[in-house]
Amino acid sequence: MSGELGLVVAPELPTFIRQGTLRRLARKPTVWISAVILSTVLFFSFFGAILTPFDPNLTKLAMVNIGPFQSEYLLGGDRAGRDILSRLMFATANTIGGAAIAVSVAVAIGVTVGLMAGYYGRTFDAIGAWLSNLIQAVPGMIVLIAVFVVVGPSTVTSMIVVGILIAPAYFRLVRNVVISVRNELYVDAARVSGLSDIRIMSRHIFVVIRAPIIIEMAYIAGIALVIQAALEFIGLGSPESPTWGGMLQDSFNALYISPFAILWPALSIILTVLAFVFLSNAVRDTLGDPRSSGGTARKAIAHAVTPPGAAELGEPNAFLSVRELSIAYPLSKEKSRTVVRKVGLQVNRGEVLGLVGESGSGKTQTAFAILGLLPPEAIVTSGRIVFDGLPLLELTEKRLNQLRGREIAYVPQEPMSNLDPAFTVGQQFGFAMRKKLGLSRVESRERALSLLARVNIKEPERVYDYYPHQLSGGMAQRVLIAIAVSCDPKLLIADEPTTALDVTVQAEVLDLLRDLQQERSMALILVTHNFGVVADICERVAVMKDGEIVETGETRAIMKRPEHPYTRLLLDSVLDNVPMRAPLTSRDGVRA
């Protein structure tokens, strides 16, 4: 019981992510410019009232509508002869405070109702959604004007109303995130552990919604600021407490006499709102895509394909030969991780090879390399793949595309996610056959129907017109197999073709694969972790571990007399060979 106990240090530790996120954020110029602007604004909202050079309400007749940089009023004077700079500094507190009130109200209402609706669902959800729709349907400006008429000029009241009007944005955000988390198994486990609902929400669910709430907060603050400025601008503010919006209106009235006065409140509003929005977007982008700035690493490692030597071309009768194949993924500019190391394989015409190993052994990577379907970040650091005399790694993408489907076909693990939900079964057949074989519509339909019948689908005419969601998992896999063999490929690569299926369906699909393979004398590479599947269908088997092939040979020989200790370990772990649990005796049943 010791093999798995050595701690696996995964490359993505949470602490690493956190440090990395901050560092990546700081690297973006928009982020630190926004941060500088916002901290300045925040500073003045706290200390602006003390630091003003003049009393913001002091009027000097000589300074009425004076332009900027002409007197001790640095940014000029307004219609009443007050210092614009002083008023701007003084108004910061009211402006930011108003936005803060709106955001707090929106968060308090939206998050609470969203949490309840998402967590309890049903009635709560229906009521929450109804209220949210109602608020969104109400014309906000008219409500605000009505409130102004009833309550009178009050920044606090109008910003509370703005908060209520913005709350649906939070409601929907939180509700959707909570619904996706609510079905996580760890929430079920917490319920079984006896945690109260409040504890589950605060511990397990709030952690997940915290980040989106904060990101949205900056964005909502920007919106609140704009709404507030608009309200003040149309005269719905309180004259006692100056705000940027109020100053905007004031200077707008004197636009032709003193054109520069409008610039300062407008600039303050624009810069602050932009800073909020840019910061919010940058944080969202960075959190959403942890590798957004790591794309340059690939060029640092040379694309080194070993030049072909005459002796390396493999035995003449080998239909597919893989030699010294190594595949690596870059981790950073200097380092890379090798996932396949000097792998050699051979498959003859009409032969079934099993590629077996545990997760992370590199078996799927090897299969994808043969198909030419490795992800773009993967680098083939060495090796050669020769298929029917063609060096696959050196072919152009266009040539590979001609081969795939026609000569080499593929059956994936997850049948459902590999059928396009927007097209019928028949249409998906047509794509392959009309393009690859140049068949007409009628011919391709005929051929598809006979193939569907061949893969034991009852009523092929009906299934031909089905959409993927109408198929069961086993039927979908049969359809995919039928599509894969529709162009008579010479090599079929099946990656865990039965792992997602029930055992009884698995047995039928394996029968089908075996029959098709023998009928057409196709070569078949079957990637699997299941030794039973190997024993059922494969003539030869290659055992992979940590990117290397540790043992290869005829299936019967390897299953009965494994030579490599790892193969022996795997075979010993097969549960068929574990002794059956004995029935419970009364002695065992007594609690110790």
Binding site: V192, R203, G532
Partner: protein, 282 residues
């Protein structure tokens, strides 16, 4: 299935329905008159294919799925419609290990927080909780420094050990294991099953092991119940069901699972073909 009063868990005539989205749509019945019982210290295997209702049965015992009709008795007490408060008290009695050790542990919590959570919910805190966490990690064969790490730092098998430790925290008398090893690699599966057996032998906890894999059930279960389309079609001692199945469906299930000996597998394939042919003749 057993004498009244002696069973730790008794399920009688259980029916579970899933309501479909939309008003007044007919409900989808997923369990039909399911009855079973588990004795103290016993492992019952529940085997069936996807959609057979085996997971729903487990979740209804845990109170995660509402029951339409029938009764669930725990130690003689009716817990079929237990309220939240009663359910929370049952946390000390019935626990769970889920299939997927990746989503059953909250990725943003430390292992020590994950393990102490049930303890704190039960009112055990501070030094005592820390001592228990160390003890739990030791019992599932994890190093004690694991407690200050996050789940992401562990492999699937190690995470499943942590999930088992969490289930053991309140020393329950019954653990429901829903596909406990199907997400794990082959070499890890056997070790996790060994751990479950070892824990059962030491603590006398009863297990309900839900699995689609007969070889898992064979290795850990004293008794087996075979489910098909929401019903239990066959049950009995593991040896009896696996060596002498009486139902055609059980035979089909047994023969469908491939074995790693190529010669034996060829025989099974033939036997399966014959069974399928005899079925189609009927």
């Amino acid at each position: 299935m057993s004498r009244e009063g002696t069973a730790l868990l008794q399920v009688e005539d259980l029916e579970v329905e899933y309501r479909k989205a939309g008003w007044r749509k007919p409900a989808n019945r997923v369990l039909h008159h399911v009855s079973l019982s588990i004795q103290e210290g016993e492992t019952l295997g529940l085997v069936g294919e996807s959609g057979s209702g085996k997971t729903t049965l487990g979740r209804s015992i845990l109170g995660l799925v509402p029951v339409a009709s029938g009764r669930i008795l725990y130690a003689g007490r009716d817990i079929t419609h237990a309220r939240r408060r009663e359910r929370r008290a049952l946390a000390k009695e019935i626990q769970v290990v889920f299939q997927d050790p990746y989503s059953s542990l909250n990725p943003s919590l430390l292992v020590s927080d994950i393990l102490s959570e049930p303890l704190r919910a039960a009112g055990i805190g501070g030094t005592e909780a820390r001592r228990r966490v160390r003890e739990l990690l030791d019992r599932v064969g994890m190093p004690s420094d694991a407690s200050e790490r996050y789940p992401v730092e562990f492999s699937g098998g190690q995470r499943q050990r942590i999930a088992i430790a969490r289930a053991l925290a309140l020393e329950p008398r019954l653990i429901i294991c829903d596909e406990p090893v199907s997400a794990l690699d082959l070499s890890t599966q056997a070790r996790v099953l060994d751990l479950l057996i070892d824990i059962q032998e030491r603590t006398g906890v009863a297990l309900l092991v839900i699995s689609h894999d007969l070889s898992v059930v064979r290795a850990v279960c004293h008794r087996v119940a075979v489910m098909y389309q929401g019903e239990i079609v066959e049950h009995g001692a593991t040896g009896a069901v696996i060596d002498h199945p009486t139902q055609a469906y059980t035979r089909k299930l047994l023969l469908a699972a491939p074995v790693s000996d190529p010669d034996e597998q060829r025989e099974r394939r033939e036997a399966r073909r014959l069974l399928a042919e005899s079925e189609s003749v009927l």
